[in-house]
Amino acid sequence: MERLKNSMELDNLRKSILEGRDTTKVIVTICGGTGCSAWGSEAVREAFIGEIKKRGLEGKVEIKKTGCHGFCERGPVVVILPQEIFYQQMVPDDVSEVITETIINNNIIGRLLYSDPITGRKCIYDYEVPFYKKQMRIVLGDNGRIDPTDISDYIARDGYKALEKVLGQMSPDEVIETVENSGLRGRGGAGFPTGKKWRFTKQASNNEKYIICNADEGDPGAFMDRSVLEGNPHSVIEGMIIAAYAIGAKVGYIYVRAEYPLAVNHLRIAISEATGLGLLGKNILNSGFDFEIRIKEGAGAFVCGEETGLIASIEGRRGMPRSRPPFPANSGLDGKPTNINNVETFANIRSIILKGAEWYSNLGTQGSKGTKIFSLTGRINNTGLVEVPMGATLREIIFDIGGGIPKGRKFKAVQMGGPSGGCIPARYLDLPIDYESLKAVGSMMGSGGMIVMDENTCMVDLARFFLNFTQSESCGKCTPCRLGTKQMLEILTRITKGEGREGDIEMLLKIAMVVKDTALCGLGQTCPNPVLSTINNFRNEYEAHIIEKKCPAAVCDALVISPCQHTCPVGVDIPNYIAYIADGKYYEAVELIRERNPFPAICGRICHHPCELKCRRGELDEPLSIRALKRFVADWYFKHITDAPEPFPVTKDERVAIIGAGPAGLSCAYFLRKMGYRVTVFEALPVGGGMLGVAIPDFRLPKEILQKEIEYIVQRGVEIKYNTPLNINFTIDDLRKEGYSAIFIAAGSQKSQEIGIPGEVDGLEGLYYGLRFLRDIKIGKTVKIGKRVAAIGGGNTAMDVARTALRLGAHEVNVFYRRTREEMPVTQLEYKEALEEGVNFNFLVSPTRIVSKDWRVKGLECIRMTLGEVDESGRRRPISIEGSEFFIEADTVIPSVGQAPDLSFLPPDSKFERARWGALEVDKNTLSTNIPVIFAGGDFVTGPTNIIEAIAAGKRGSIAINKYLQGDTSRVEIRDEKKEILHKFSGQDAEEIEFKPRLKVPVIPPEERKKGFDEIEIGFSEEKAKEEAKRCLRCDMER
């Protein structure tokens, strides 16, 4: 192409490019971005070229390699024009079929389309894909449509038209005014108004001025600049030329990371093409304006993203920032006035010029205009680049566009702004994002990296990670940054190693504030942000590391042997008992479990298995069925080991009394007995097990299983006195008089709570409370229920109530819950089983009145709810929708909304300190009450939780009581213990690991289940159990 002499020639060129194009011609565009390339898009492209040649379709079908489409998760992405069919995750083997079916026969291949994971709908065009639907792609829009190495593609899509307009119709001041009025702010991070920056540089008195494009994208987790440079380099160049014209610069530099070879390459091609056409160089389009662009490759230093550091680096010096003022606008490169903008900022300019400042300023929020590109990465389903108007909420970006968190895990926080930013916890999900709002919550826009974290990310480790980064990237010029980062890193490192000390958090906060206030440049001033924001939002995690030596996310090496064991509230040595199972050593496996948990058969059935959520195998395919394996081995034990075990020997003089024979009480008793104490458990009811004995239905936990495990504990020497309630006639003081040296209260949380709505009258026929209802069934009472049952609540009790009601012959069972499935604290398995059996779930519905006639329940008045802002519990608050009231018939209503501890057996004048909500106040570490000999734990203290938490409380209580009785005043520390390492078993060497999902645990079919109370899970056979156990990766052996 020839040099263009004026804007008319550019116009004509554009026209002739467009006219020369056959809009009906088939063009296969293949994404050549870094993401798709790593997925193998080049091989797909070659396959297309080869296949087209083979079939003689050359000239009829064109192949085009485009820039990044943003949906990197689904690469390689291929779009077929003119229909714009969007194929994803293509492999070379698909190519032949695409040519035959789609290109020749005009058929769409369903398999290659994106299918919406929620609706299952196939999307033919990109704009139908949820990932793109909510985006507004002003900067990224052309990325997937043009060949970045061919300037005519860019020109055809109105490229350099903004330049034409600026040179032909606008004075430099008008350009600056337009940019000012648009409200565009720097996309590099700090958000300084771009127009203002241009004006400063223009006003600076010097004839020689420079433009710099900062393409030193160094923020870990941000790659939008790379994508723009690789996919649409001319948009950046055009922005730079316009800026140069506005401020009067003749030379521009692009400082680009050396780690981006493709970007450098595309920029070089673009610059040479633009120069060839006379869009760069002397007398551009006959305007008398000269401008040239040079590329400077960085050499790998994060601090060079700071403008004065960057200038030093261009000048060939060590990239160390200097203090400002003077700002680069007055004294920058070579001491001349210099305007530095980020890649994305420049890429926005052409749209502002073409569509006007007003159009642009209508997008976004009050203080932040236009769109922003975010790179969405981390624990998210749809990783990629997302461009949305400022003011979009995190929820929209992470859940609607990003598709939420994989593997059913929970969103924990999102880190924005890279090492300079902060993490934003779940309660701010509905925050509209702009520069100011992010600052207000302790984060920052930064370059737009958005790293999503789920419950398996440790926030202390994250802070340490960032400090490690900033500490090594600190240029060392100023003391606060050089030493402050080092000190903070040292403290964080020792916390993650379990060597944290009291006062460490305060010390971190102190150093962080000093560094923030006194460091020389942006790197130093912002590097404490990750520390500050993680402490502010996740202080409990720091405390868990420092005080309890626990890493709640099971990440920190020094504390964690294996994530499953660490996550188990009682710390069962899971990898080793699984290894025993794989080896067929079942007796040893059970004994190993019992070192930490005396209820293997029960937990093998009803534990909510937090261990499985953290299982490393889950990262590869699916987590191990840890719970079902435990059940298998416990059942094996009771089937094969019929001899009663010997009682533990009594080695100590003191006696301990336990109130309540639930899982907490019995565990405490078991472990104390094991330590050599004589223990007596006082139980008010004729049966043991607490909630296990009176609430959990037989179809989940058969009575015999509970009996066997209690029997085992008795055989080991624990005495249980049934039908012995504490009351006015038999008090805690009486126990002390009887000679018990310590008392552990674990009386459970068994008082049903009322909902507190009109019509909820005691004695109404057809009104039961969940716990009472379950207990009556469990002890064999006849309970009369109607045909239409309504269970109210979203927890385990409500679930058990609904499923029990079905088994009692109810025709229709409705569960009403005021929130959604997501907030329900029941496992997916339980929920699925209930659905299969025919329970109807009514989410976002809250009953407002129980309607009755002649003392008989007739139905429920309800109102529909919607979820509002996130409350302190991290869940979204349900809000009723006016006018959505409705009535539903029901002859039986069973509220199951919660239980509270019943403290009525304690004399009202007792000196116990009470917590705010009425339960006993205890020390979290030792479970001791304010009365020295008395300890309390389990649901009685915490309110209803899970069985494994209750066992953990019992275990903790036993350790604390032992320490107390031995006069040891140190804290209770329950660390993971490492047993001897068992040998590896086959299938565990890296090269042999194959994709192999977990084995299904067999269950009785739903129709059969509903007929009675038989246990629905059948459990693994020996052969299946061994097979499943061998899936374990033995990550504990790495430590």
Partner: protein, 153 residues
């Protein structure tokens, strides 16, 4: 240590005769040519650019990209960016170290591998990522680490 071809250096220096601020580009070219910045080149460079040798040395040690000792044929860069970190990059690094038997910043004796960590490779969508020479390998897992490294000659 093998002798370096000083004529090559002369050629490179003449390429940048007219360049503004040539230090970094010269060092980049020198490294491209020799695979690292040989000690013997520092003085000739400083002479040609009219700078002190300490200034050249200062730049060469400041930037992570420049190496002062020879590198292996296969430069493995393990991304330690946040996105990779969150998706298990640390374990990948551990596995690479185990396979190559070297630590970060080291080179194997047979000059087959050099191992480096990078703050972010900017391919976060593929995390965890490693880069061998100029090729990216995404979505790494224990098996892929071995497969990728096995291919290296």
């Amino acid at each position: 240590m093998e002798k370096i071809d000083i004529n090559k250096l002369e050629e490179i220096l003449s390429e940048f005769k007219d360049e503004n601020w040539p230090v970094i580009p010269v060092l980049q070219r020198v490294q491209e040519e020799f695979g690292y910045i040989p000690k013997e080149t520092i003085e000739p460079i400083s002479k040609a650019l009219n700078l002190f040798p300490s200034q050249i040395q200062g730049v060469a040690t400041f930037y992570a990209q420049f190496y002062l000792s020879p590198k292996g044929r296969n430069l493995i860069r393990v991304c330690r960016g946040t996105a990779c970190h969150v998706r298990g990059g640390r374990t990948i690094l551990k596995l690479v170290k185990k396979y190559t038997n070297i630590e970060e910043g080291e080179t194997t004796e047979d000059l087959k591998f050099s191992l480096e960590t990078v703050a972010c490779l900017g391919a976060c969508a593929l995390s965890p990522v490693i880069m061998v020479n100029k090729t990216y390998f995404g979505k790494m897992n224990p098996r892929r680490v071995e497969l990728v490294l096995k291919q290296c000659k």
